[in-house]
């Protein structure tokens, strides 16, 4: 089972929402569309579902061209960021609605609704109406409706974005299990890299209507092909700095330089860009190979047991994300330590140099 996008393009008016995109999604695991708001995640999902028709290009499902097939004939289901349920149906009737449209008989409907409600832990709420449920329960109902009809394709468009932290964590843990045994393709859109990493599966990094990279999530995270993909995969944003290679050394400023890693020693001298993820910059020194970065603290936030320190150094804004509580005052001079072995190097075209 596969969903294949061939040079799919979407242009509305004068705006290109999706640039020619080719992508093959397989059954098994979750396919993640990762990108910021307006990156084109929702448009891409609507194209996959058949809610929108591509301006150019083709969509193939299981070896069949379904580009012109309307959504009703495609057997897809979708879960939205808002909790979409029929307002005056009970939870049971909401979940049963796709089956009733499909014309299944009562006992079968009853059996399947009970089953999926059990899976989503809403069995005790079947007689209630959506307005009597919490946000998390409403979204569980919407998911149950998507799962009940054995779709070939399930699309989830930031389903956890409107939930509060605890409910989000709870559902996020359950999600991979919900889809594990299903014979369908699951596509999940999110703005959060952490969510993508937690689900594993495959990730398509999206930026301004383009899929910049697609592959197993871990691979994309470790080896983003370019700076754009690296940015999409990092939250807080990845630290970027311009460096110059001189002989065997990379130079950030006259007094901050380090030895080029082995694989890169033969690289031509000149301008390069480095990317260091925030959690590889820490107020505590972890090894003698750490690169000290001296700067002025802008803001230091504490989030649970993590510290996020924003600081300016050498004309760049930097972010550090570290475990433990590291109190800093705004305006304070501080030295932070970058784990330079984890640094990503990009060439003049902002493409990753593999070492």
């Amino acid at each position: 089972m596969s969903l294949e996008l061939k040079q799919v393009t979407k242009i509305i008016g004068a705006d290109t929402h999706i640039y020619p995109t080719s992508l093959t999604l397989q059954r098994g695991g979750i396919n993640i569309l990762l990108g910021t708001t307006l990156a084109g995640k929702t448009t891409l999902m609507q194209l996959m579902a058949g809610l929108e028709r591509p301006t150019a290009g083709e969509i193939w499902f299981d070896g069949k061209n379904v580009t012109g097939t309307p959504v009703q004939q495609r057997n897809v289901s979708m879960v939205y960021q808002q909790f979409i349920n029929y307002p005056n149906f009970t939870v049971f009737d909401n979940i049963a609605s796709p089956l009733r449209v499909a014309g299944l008989d009562g006992t079968e409907i009853n059996k399947r609704v009970k089953q999926v409600a059990e899976l989503l832990k809403i069995s005790t709420m079947l007689e209630r109406r959506p307005s009597e449920l919490s946000g998390g329960q409403q979204q569980r109902t919407a998911m149950a409706r998507a799962l009940v009809k054995d779709s070939d394709l399930i699309l989830l468009d930031e389903p956890l974005a409107n939930l509060d932290f605890k409910l989000r964590e709870e559902l996020r843990e359950e999600l991979p299990r919900l889809f594990a045994e299903r014979n369908c393709i699951v596509v999940y859109a999110t703005t959060e890299p952490a969510e993508a990493l937690q689900f594993a599966g495959h990730t398509a990094a999206l930026h301004e209507g383009r899929v910049t990279q697609f592959g197993p999530t871990g691979d994309i995270y470790r080896r983003p092909i370019d700076l754009t993909s690296a940015r999409v995969l990092s939250e807080p944003p990845i630290n970027i700095a311009k460096v110059i290679k001189r002989g065997t050394q990379f130079v950030l400023t006259d007094n901050v330089k380090w030895r080029a890693p082995k694989g890169l020693s033969k690289l031509a001298d000149g301008d390069y860009t480095i990317g260091i993820r925030p959690h590889h910059v820490s107020p505590a020194k972890s090894s003698s190979k750490n690169l000290p970065i001296e700067g002025t603290v802008q803001v230091a936030e504490l989030s649970g047991s993590e510290s996020i320190i924003h600081f300016n150094a050498y004309g760049n804004a930097w972010v550090s994300l570290s475990h433990g509580v590291h109190p800093f005052m705004a305006g304070e001079q501080a030295t932070l330590y970058a784990d330079i072995d984890r640094c990503l190097y990009f060439d003049a075209d902002k493409r990753l140099i593999v070492n």
Partner: protein, 287 residues
């Protein structure tokens, strides 16, 4: 539920209470005062008890006006609410036509009530009015000043013309607040347009429609100016609605006691029916 006792808070409510007292409670109390007394001019008042209430409630004239009033109100509700919803559904959702439609819809609401009456009076005159001439030209014997049926037809048409827009605007606002995702979800389910209307749009419009029905009910039950200018209650008493009858009793005959009793009964009928409407429409929405 913990409530903190804060007696100072009453001082903040006081100005509003005084305002309400001056413009509602005190006038209402003078009406109550009149309704239980007999007067012979020269400000001589005598206690009459519930005499006027009994008289009004037994009066066939009052029954007839109340009947006409109920007929009028339920007719215009039965036309304006479905028509308003239908027009709101047919209106465009985006583009420049939205503002054009909204302005056109708001027009009748901006016209003063007596002008609406005057416009329709002239418009419908059988010999010189555009509508009257046209209907008679088509061979229909139409004369709203002579035939009660024609008077009712004109009265109801005028109200529909004047007030359907209000329902349209409220229903349109209700429709505009439904996220696009609902329609997409329904489309994915393969729901028909009737199902979308019945199970998404209508429930989502319920609150604004309740307001629309209540407003139209109360306003139409209180209607005075337009029928007064259009038909003056005639021909005969055929379009004498409650408010017109009340004015005849109070100012025409200067029967202050019965008129006051009638006003209070009128007020209680509106209150009761509004409550019934509200309770029926809000059934099943406990929170």
């Amino acid at each position: 539920m913990d409530k903190t006792a804060n007696h100072k808070a009453w001082f903040f409510v006081l100005p509003v209470l005084m305002l309400v007292a001056f413009n509602a409670i005190i006038p209402l109390m003078t009406v109550v005062n009149y309704s239980v007394q007999e007067t012979f001019g020269d400000n001589n008042f005598f206690w009459a008890g519930v005499l006027w209430f009994e008289e009004v409630l037994r009066s066939e004239r009052f029954h007839a006006s109340l009947g006409r009033q109920l007929f009028f109100t339920f007719s215009i509700l039965a036309i304006e609410v479905p028509l308003g919803v239908a027009i709101a559904l047919a209106m465009p959702r985006k583009g420049i036509w939205v503002s054009v439609c909204l302005v056109l819809m708001a027009m009748p609401l901006l016209i003063p009530w007596n002008v609406v009456g005057a416009i329709w009076n002239i418009f419908a005159l059988p010999n010189i009015g555009l509508l009257g001439q046209m209907l008679n030209g088509l061979g229909i014997d139409y004369n709203f000043t002579r035939q009660p049926g024609d008077a009712w037809f004109t009265l109801i048409t005028m109200d529909v013309w004047h007030w359907t827009s209000l329902v349209v605007l409220l229903a349109y606002a209700g429709l505009a607040s439904i996220p696009e995702a609902y329609y997409q979800a329904a489309k994915i389910d393969g729901a028909s347009s009737w199902a979308i209307f019945r199970y998404i749009q209508l429930p989502k419009m319920k609150r604004v429609l309740t307001i629309a029905v209540l407003l139209r009910f109360m306003d139409s039950f209180n209607i005075y100016t337009e029928p007064f200018v259009l038909t003056g209650g005639g021909p005969g008493n055929s379009t004498t609605l409650l408010s017109i009858d009340l004015v005849k009793v109070a100012l025409g005959q200067f029967d202050l006691g019965p008129a006051a009793a009638m006003s209070l009964i009128y007020f209680l009928v509106i209150l009761l029916l509004s409550w019934v409407f509200y309770t029926l429409m809000m059934r099943g929405e406990e929170q």
